[in-house]
């Protein structure tokens, strides 16, 4: 028996200050692995997770930027950047590790309403 529900993961934290960003990505990948309908939005400081050029060569940290392309590869349906947050940090498409679909507040609000489960990290 399998039940498919829609999950919206909202990442809100910068990549290396806490375990939260990893938890958000793990949640998204895990739910997708169980064939759930998963979307993830990078909002507020989480837009900084999307920056290309993150270098964790010193070895103590795991590169968050490198995990972003893995999301769609592992069947996360939609990956969005919250445009007002990106604007706040003066980021454009060129700054990201891959092409991102931008959403505004009203589209995010619709996603929040439509999803069976909304998790904020």
């Amino acid at each position: 028996m399998s039940i498919t529900e829609s999950f919206l993961i909202i990442a809100t934290t910068s990549p290396y200050g806490s375990h939260q960003p990893r938890a958000a990505l793990d949640m998204a990948l895990t739910a997708a692995a169980f064939e759930q309908d998963v979307s993830i939005v990078f909002m507020d400081a989480a837009v900084l997770q999307l920056l290309k050029g993150q270098s964790t060569a010193s070895g103590t940290l795991k590169n968050v930027g490198k995990m972003i392309p893995a999301l769609t590869l592992y069947e996360v349906k939609s990956v969005y950047v919250h445009q007002p947050s990106a604007t706040h940090y003066d980021l454009s498409d060129l700054d990201y590790v891959e092409d991102m679909e931008a959403i505004d507040d009203s589209r995010l609000k619709t996603l929040v309403e439509m999803s069976n489960h909304v998790m904020v990290f």
């Binding site: 507020d44 069976n116 909304v118 904020v120």
Partner: protein, 97 residues
């Protein structure tokens, strides 16, 4: 209909208020209750709320922090029983942190 809970001090509240819709409810708990103190300074934040949104703050958490008297009139104090009722009444809960 969504129950939005806030349990931290900071911009979680702004995030929640941006996503709130008619018929939703908001519940402040733990350090989230400090939001009631930001009301006088931050009226625009609250003015944007639809009238139909019910606002609650957990009474024990307000009392523990000595700010029970700072709760604005449009907020209702909630006890643990109310918390449970809210949790089962709304379609889903979003914990904004």
């Amino acid at each position: 209909m969504i129950l939005h809970t806030i349990n931290k001090n900071g911009n979680c509240l702004t995030r929640a208020l941006g996503m709130i819709a008619k018929g939703d409810a908001i519940l402040l708990l733990e350090d989230g209750v400090y939001a009631v103190m930001e009301l006088p300074q931050n009226t625009t934040l609250w003015d944007s709320l639809p009238d139909s949104v019910s606002c609650y703050a957990l009474a024990d958490d307000l009392a523990a922090r000595g700010i029970s008297d700072k709760m604005p009139p449009f907020f209702k104090a909630a006890d643990w029983q109310d918390f449970v009722s809210l949790a089962v009444t709304y379609d889903k809960i979003i914990s904004w942190g």
